[in-house]
């Protein structure tokens, strides 16, 4: 069940009240059984078969953790690799098998069977979280979890199972093991985040989608003007931010309501002044996972310059492939890898931008580069991505205002984007001039206005989150 669905909004208050009644009794086992049951119920609503895959990954990594934990000094990389491969098996099969064989067929004259099936919801997220735990146990960063209940809840915890954030065992497991006291401040903060996430998703992301889909779907971009294509690409950059950040805030918010803190995933990414900085602000939990479990094990930056650059490239190619089994994602990852290597080589990422206009210029350049990369991310094939870019560059056709979704959509988007800009500016620069926004009357007005905007202007059709596809 998605966090933006009506069914979730209807059931969650009951889940919340019952949870705190159980939690107040002080019995952690009962509380965790309840949370696990709720998590599995929500997950099984996508497709009962997905539960088999989730169960397999949970069982393998639980066993792996126990096995590696018990081996203490005798543990070898071979055992770790075995458990990682076993845990990754469903992900590799469901997500990458068809991609792999279609590319293999291009190299060897053999026909392989193809399978058409649904990729289990959130498989990349829960698999990475579970693999991260096994590696952490191997490295003695966390002790092996003996309680199957607590470990299952760590993997299956419903707010984060579909699209993260990817938690580390050291962050979430101790919270699941201990008692959680109801805190007014945490709950209030959770509700605020949930409301803000719902606003980003329903009012912004799903409305931006109307501009994006017209241009990107079914090669429609061939029939529309360059300016419309450019606008659609910018709209996609904003859509994916609002969609993914929206989900993340809702997930973190829902989790806070239950007394658990999840890691942050976004820090105003479009205020980044270098690509390196962008990746410190965008999908932070994945960047951290890739750094800890791919980049650093490869040698990180404590090696020769050439090797360090290679490590960056491999890490970003893995990031690209993690997002999807398509060459467009590989190019997207490679693009960021090369951009970061160039930044490191020339020291651009360290250069401080003095002066307002200089900083704005750097942000604009970084946004343009990121915007270009999103075209590869969104397009179905590389050829279409290059055609789309070509369409923008060639400056053809007349701008058609109707392709922006009309007056209504444009008015709502301008209004909502202004609110987003204010919020991000306030968070980024802690502006003194905006501190009046923290006054109780203003806050309450903001909560009511946001709720009213969601109800009257939001697209309330429980549409899929973009990252749920990954």
């Amino acid at each position: 069940m998605f966090l933006n669905s009506f069914n979730f909004l209807l059931t969650f208050p009951c889940v919340f009240v019952l949870y705190w009644i159980l939690a107040s009794k002080g019995n952690i086992t009962v509380r965790n059984v309840y949370l696990l049951a709720i998590s599995l119920c929500f997950y099984v609503m996508f497709n009962p078969f997905f539960l088999v895959v989730l169960g397999y990954v949970t069982a393998i990594t639980y066993a792996g953790g126990l096995f590696l934990g018990n081996m203490s000094r005798r543990r070898t990389p071979g055992w770790l690799s075995l458990f990682i491969v076993l845990a990754l098996f469903p992900l590799l099969t469901f997500k990458y098998y068809n991609f792999f064989v279609s590319n293999l067929e291009a190299l060897v004259p053999i026909k392989f069977p193809r399978y058409s099936y649904f990729v289990p919801m959130g498989i990349s997220f829960f698999t990475f979280q579970a693999v991260g735990y096994v590696v952490d146990v191997y490295k003695n960063a966390v002790p092996a979890e003996h309680s199957l209940l607590q470990y299952s809840l760590f993997v299956c915890y419903f707010p984060q199972i579909v699209s993260g954030p990817i938690s580390k065992a050291s962050e979430l497991l101790p919270q699941l093991q201990g008692t959680r006291a109801f805190s007014y401040l945490r709950t209030r903060s959770g509700l605020r985040l949930f409301l803000w996430g719902a606003f980003l998703k329903t009012v912004l992301a799903d409305r931006l989608c109307m501009i994006v889909d017209i241009a990107f779907n079914d090669q429609q971009f061939m029939h529309i003007s360059s300016l419309n294509c450019l606008l659609a690409s910018i709209a996609y950059s904003l859509q994916i931010y609002c969609d993914f950040a929206g989900y993340t805030y809702m997930a973190i918010g829902a989790s806070k309501l239950l007394g658990f803190d999840l890691p942050d995933n976004f820090r105003q990414p479009y205020f980044a002044d270098s690509i390196t900085d962008f990746w410190r602000r965008w999908h932070i939990s994945l960047s951290r996972w890739l750094r800890d479990y791919i980049y650093i094990p490869l040698g990180g930056n404590r090696c020769s310059m050439l090797r360090s650059h290679w490590n960056i490239l491999v890490t970003f190619l893995a990031s690209g492939l993690w997002h999807g089994a398509n060459w467009t994602f590989v190019v997207w990852g490679g693009y960021y890898g090369i951009a970061q290597i160039l930044e490191k080589q020339f020291g651009w990422h360290k250069a401080k931008s003095h002066g307002f206009w200089r900083k704005i210029a750097r942000m604009a350049i970084v946004f343009s580069l990121v915007n270009l990369a999103w075209i590869f991310f969104r397009m179905d094939t590389l050829v279409n991505a290059f055609r789309f870019i070509g369409r923008i560059v060639l400056c053809r056709g007349r701008f058609d205002f109707n392709l922006t979704g009309g007056k209504e959509n444009t008015t709502v988007l301008v209004l909502a984007l202004t609110i987003l800009l204010f919020k991000d500016l306030k968070n980024e620069y802690h502006l003194q001039c905006l501190h009046w926004l923290d006054r109780p009357f203003v806050r309450w007005t903001a909560y009511l206005v946001l709720t009213m905007m969601i109800l009257t202007l939001g697209k309330l059709d429980s549409s899929l989150f973009i990252y749920a596809n990954f």
Partner: protein
């Protein structure tokens, strides 16, 4: 003991604030509902204005119903000049039998039109695409949710939608700006007697894809509403005619209309099929796109339709 007291104090504080928030929200929702109700009754332009007129002021003898193809294809002025009877085009973009049934119920409370001309589209017969469902057709009925007949339609299509529409704020979702625009510009989106002419022309040699029925399944819910719509019209003694208007180069083939053809045969109702009328369907100058006639095409089609009505004895006005 002290910790548990602190927890319960926190929980009490949270509950108080949550209740206060809900009370404020419900209060705002009610005020919003009153304001929107007033505005809605005054509005003349936009889609909501058009629907308000249809439900609360329309008095025309002939009523044309259907989707965008109805709105763009049937010229009420020609109905008036040819038959001497006034007509109104109630066609609304992207809508079909569920909206038509709701509207007919509301119209029937005030007066009984002499004739209903129903332009048939996929929205009346076939299942929605995978990522959609029939709740999409409830959107335009939201402003009339206070009517018991409309509430029962919501209940039947989706109980969740029925629950959600108890909020006045939610009811305005999708029509709020249309209502404001309709107040500012009273002629916006109303067209001429509901008819919305299109003035662009299809490019020569355009090859629109064929809408295949191979992958489409008949929607039982829509067919149920179609049968009820027929019952409602027949019980009120309204002459009912189903029509298939032209599409360019047979983009919507005659085969597409098989379900309605069968229903019309079983209920002994006329079905006027222009889907393969070569004189109109092959002339690109009469179309704006593959499925919509432009004004020139609409005039030609309406004239041909009324001639067909007379030839088939569906309406004897001379």
């Amino acid at each position: 003991m002290q910790i548990s007291k602190a927890i319960s104090a926190d929980f009490r504080k949270f509950t108080q604030k949550a209740v206060l928030f809900l009370v404020l929200l419900v209060g705002l929702d009610l005020i919003f509902g009153i304001v929107m109700g007033r505005l809605q009754s005054k509005i003349r332009g936009g889609t909501v204005g058009k629907l308000e007129y249809i439900c609360h002021a329309m008095k025309e003898d002939i009523v044309i119903m259907g989707s965008s193809r109805a709105a763009h294809h049937y010229v009420p002025e020609i109905f008036l000049t040819t038959t001497g009877h006034s007509a109104y085009n109630t066609g609304i973009d992207g809508n079909g039998i569920i909206l038509s049934y709701g509207l007919l119920g509301l119209i029937g409370k005030r007066y009984v039109p002499s004739m209903l001309v129903c332009d048939v589209s996929g929205f009346d017969m076939y299942e929605c695409p995978e990522d959609e469902n029939n709740t999409r057709y409830l959107g335009k009925l939201r402003p009339f949710f206070h009517e018991p007949d409309i509430r029962s339609i919501f209940k039947e299509i989706s109980y969740a939608e029925y629950l959600k529409n108890h909020s006045h704020l939610y009811r305005a979702n999708g029509s709020l700006l249309d209502i404001f625009n309709g107040i500012i510009n009273s002629s916006m989106g109303k067209g001429k007697q509901g008819y919305l002419p299109l003035y662009k022309q299809l490019k020569a040699g355009a090859t629109p894809g064929i809408k295949s029925t191979a992958t489409k399944s008949v929607d039982k819910v829509k067919l149920r509403f179609l049968q009820r719509f027929i019952d409602l019209a027949q019980n009120n003694g309204i002459s009912l005619v189903f029509c298939a208007s032209p599409s360019y180069s047979g983009r919507i083939s005659s085969e597409f209309y098989q379900p309605i053809r069968e229903i019309c045969a079983s209920r002994q109702l006329p079905f006027v099929d222009f889907s393969s009328e070569t004189e109109i369907c092959t002339d690109y100058t009469l179309f704006q796109d593959g499925t919509h006639l432009n004004h020139q095409g609409a005039v030609k089609f309406t004239e041909a339709l009324l001639a067909r009505f007379q030839a088939q004895g569906l309406w004897n006005w001379k």
